[in-house]
């Protein structure tokens, strides 16, 4: 009996299937990991740990579910577990908006470049990317995962519910609250006051 194989729970056929899935999904998974963690080093760790666990439990993977959804379920868990392990993680106060200037300066920064004229090539500036990432980093983990899966991965509520092992109602409320928080983080207090 092969001890290593027995322990890993992965048989030969599964192994080649798994390897193909790694090759197919690692870029997408990395991008999600980056948006969750906010930096390359943590994204790298998170992606590797996610695939490692996926490998260990590959015999339990139900093929009726898209692999990505199953992978994000693992990733969400690893992400939350790892964050809780760290004694201090950088969560800025939710009430405190990110300083990105105000008025026209802010309007300009938050503008989508060439959105209508050439949507294919419209990428956000590095500066805006950073501002949005900082705002994402400030969200509580569950809200952050929901927002990223919905708006960056473009997943449906049902898929998100599957990936986060929660109900549709929970997905709805996490997205609602997550987006509200995100917006408040991107809006200077003066604008908020003017609004209400």
């Amino acid at each position: 009996m092969d001890i290593a194989r027995l322990f890993a729970g992965v048989l030969k056929n599964d192994r080649s299937e798994f390897d193909a899935l790694v090759n197919r999904c690692h870029r997408q998974a990395y991008n999600v990991a980056y948006r969750l963690t906010g930096n390359h080093a943590d994204a790298d760790d998170l992606t590797q740990e996610t695939f490692l666990r996926a490998y260990r439990f590959f015999d339990r993977y139900n093929r009726s579910m898209p692999f990505e959804n199953w992978l994000y379920r693992i990733m969400s868990r690893v992400f939350i577990d790892e964050l809780r392990k760290k004694p201090k993680h950088r969560i800025q106060s939710i009430d405190q908006p990110i300083n990105i200037g105000s008025g026209s300066e802010r309007e300009m920064l938050l503008e989508i470049p060439d959105y209508d004229s050439n949507p294919e090539n419209a990428l956000l500036t590095d500066q805006l990317d950073e501002v949005l990432q900082t705002a994402l980093n400030s969200l509580p983990e569950e809200f952050r995962i929901a927002v990223i899966l919905a708006d960056i991965e473009g997943m449906s509520y049902e898929e998100i519910a599957e990936s986060m092992s929660c109900s549709l109602g929970t997905v709805r409320s996490r997205l609602h609250r997550g987006r509200k928080l995100l917006r408040s983080r991107l809006t200077p207090p003066s604008d908020m006051a003017a609004r209400s």
Partner: protein, 203 residues
């Protein structure tokens, strides 16, 4: 529908996740209420911003690193299993036999058998190679010495890391393991290194 209720459903409306009737009610409300309409546009704007974020790509060959992580993990797992089995066997013997000296001999014998079995097994793919201790003598591998010659690292050809031949091409970030069999284990494959700090391996 009042503004409060609409506001609560805007997010789901935007995602197209509301049932038809509710969706129509919201649309009607947005046509007639400027405040909610502004809210909606802002939500939509933010969703588009997020959708336009750059796709971040891995800074190194991620599949190679993942396969490496898995290989090392499987190797560690098999060693853990061997250790656990030896312990189990010892416990069983202690229960059956009793006297400590007999138990000690039995444990050694069982360990030897299991270890032989395991090392035959681990020759396949898991380690990335081993150190050639014939030259220089093993005494030079004392703690603290940086040993500069990557040629003395003899790599084990493997299915998943084809082409790794010298330590220059082997890469790792610091979490390394060394088993009594003198193979070098790397937890992750990230940054290329040209020298190895032997203090890590505690010989």
């Amino acid at each position: 529908m009042n503004c409060r209720k609409v506001n609560h459903l805007l997010s789901a409306y935007m995602d197209g996740e509301l049932p038809g009737i509710e969706s129509l009610q919201i649309r009607d409300h947005l046509n007639s209420c400027q405040a909610c309409c502004d809210d909606y546009n802002e939500l939509l704007h933010m969703k588009r911003l997020l959708g336009r974020l750059k796709v971040q790509t891995p800074v190194h060959d991620l599949p190679v690193a993942i396969f490496q992580t898995i290989r090392v993990d499987s190797e560690l797992a098999s060693h853990r299993t061997v250790a656990a089995r030896t312990q189990e066997l010892a416990n069983g013997l202690r229960a059956a036999v009793g006297p400590p000296r007999v138990v000690a001999i039995a444990i050694c014998a069982a360990g030897l058998v299991v270890f032989t079995f395991a090392s035959r097994n681990s020759d396949k793919v898991h380690s990335i190679g081993s150190w050639d201790h014939s030259t220089p003598p093993a005494s030079e591998f004392t703690a603290g010495i940086r040993y500069p010659d990557p040629q003395r690292f003899v790599s084990t050809p493997s299915r998943n890391t084809p082409g790794i031949r010298t330590l220059d091409e082997v890469s790792f970030t610091g979490q390394s393991y060394r088993w009594p069999d003198d193979r070098l284990y790397s937890r992750r494959a990230n940054t290329p290194v040209s020298t190895v700090d032997y203090t890590q391996f505690g010989r």
